[in-house]
């Protein structure tokens, strides 16, 4: 039986196969996140996520360019929207963590939030349908500068030795627990933080994309003049509901990434833990 299925699968095209045709359900997997190069420029292979990443950057830049090309005292249209975006990042992300003194981080946090958000949102835009952040390189390259800034700020504000001392010796911990606690604290503060920052965004986007694929593919696979139509419809409805959920998660993950960056900065700048 499995031989038959296997043989059938070999000749099956996932774009046209439906239930009861002898072809298996083309379940999404990690291979769906690996793309063939669209073009090769001087040995450099360009893939869809790269194009989407650049596109996201271009969208963010274009938007803010239009918003603040000629800023007016009484804002209109794009400027209004741009100001809303900036003020959202400032008042909801930056100020709660860093206070008014942290306003110098505003460009960084605004860039982070909107760049991540636009990349995320591409996962539900028809015909694009892919969030670049579901490939680990993009969250990682965004988390690394955050981590570097975090360590740098910590050393500058607490001194290189004080920084490690503050981190390894939590306030109020009795001395005899330090041999056990200090390695954990150092490990968690210095190594785990950038890693979790990366993984959180990456895994959320990856799983969200897989989830949409599962039900999207299922609605197509189950679509036939049979009982499958019922399941197909259910699948389709679920796809729409999950898409709405994804909209929320995409914005939320961008928000969390930026908020955590702000939190790390403020953590590094306050001497005592």
């Amino acid at each position: 039986m499995s031989d038959v299925l296997f043989a059938a699968a070999k000749s099956c095209d996932p774009n046209t196969s439906h239930i009861f045709s002898g072809c298996p359900y083309p379940a999404p997997n990690i291979e769906d996140f690996i793309f063939k190069p669209i073009a090769t420029v001087g040995g450099f292979e360009i893939t869809k996520p790269m194009v989407l990443c650049v596109l996201a950057g271009a969208i963010v830049l274009t938007f803010f360019w239009f918003a603040f090309r000629k800023p007016k005292l009484v804002p209109k249209g794009a400027q209004n929207l741009g100001e809303m975006g900036i003020l959202f990042v400032r008042d909801q992300i930056l100020r709660p963590q860093l206070g008014k003194a942290g306003d110098r981080f505003l460009p960084y946090l605004v860039s982070l939030f909107f760049f991540i958000w636009i990349m995320n949102i591409m996962g539900i835009i028809p015909l694009i349908d892919f969030p670049s952040t579901s490939r680990i390189a993009y969250p990682l390259i965004l988390a690394l500068p955050v981590w570097i800034t975090y360590v740098f700020l910590g050393m500058r504000h607490q001194g290189p030795i004080g920084y490690f001392k503050n981190m390894a010796v939590p306030a109020g911990a009795p001395w005899w627990i330090l041999p056990l606690l200090s390695p954990i604290e150092l490990f968690s503060n210095i190594l785990v933080r950038p890693f979790t920052l990366t993984i959180r965004l990456f895994a959320n986007m990856l799983s969200g994309h897989i989830l949409l694929l599962v039900f999207g593919l299922a609605s197509w696979y189950l679509f036939s003049a049979s009982i499958g139509l019922l399941f197909s419809t259910a699948s389709f409805v679920l796809t729409i509901i999950l898409t709405l959920l994804e909209v929320l998660i995409q914005a939320l993950q961008a928000f969390i990434f930026t908020t955590l960056a702000a939190f790390y900065f403020s953590d590094a700048m306050s001497a005592a833990h």
């Binding site: 997997n29 063939k36 893939t47 950057g57 005292l73 993009y138 990682l140 390259i141 500068p145």
Partner: protein, 188 residues
Amino acid sequence: MLHLASSLPGQQPQNPLVPAWPELIIGFITFAIVFVALWKVLLPRATKMLAERSDAIEGGIERADAAQAEADATLAQYRAQLQEARHEAARMREEAREEGARIKAELRAEGEEQKRAIIESGNAQVRADRQQAFAALQAEVGALSVQLAGKIVGESLEDEARQRRIVDRFLADLESGSSAASGARASS
């Protein structure tokens, strides 16, 4: 899995946790461009504009506050002036009333004085007239009495001295009788 794997010949299945270098580079460059553009060009404009706007709004509020304070001060001043004017008016009314009362009292006193003077002078006049009448009557009554007495006794009293004595005695009697009568008149 098979179909995708077979569709990508020559490419090793990637570990999703291992980042690809080209993507790291592209991601970094893109983000760097976005960040630098926002940091150096676009956000300064935005924050400058926001600051200017809040300045404008705060300035407007401050101006409104100043105008309000000025209006309040002016109102207070007007009220004070009005109060003062009322006090002044009341004071003037009071003064006028006192003045009026004083004038009335003075006039009354003056009137009393004049009345008293008129009465006094009337009295004096009456006394003088009476004196005068007495003096006039004194001679006349003397002559008439002598004449009458002469006629009654039928003979002329030649003796000048005797004549005078008789007249004087008569007048003295007359005077005592008339002063007693005038005293009785005054007491009534």
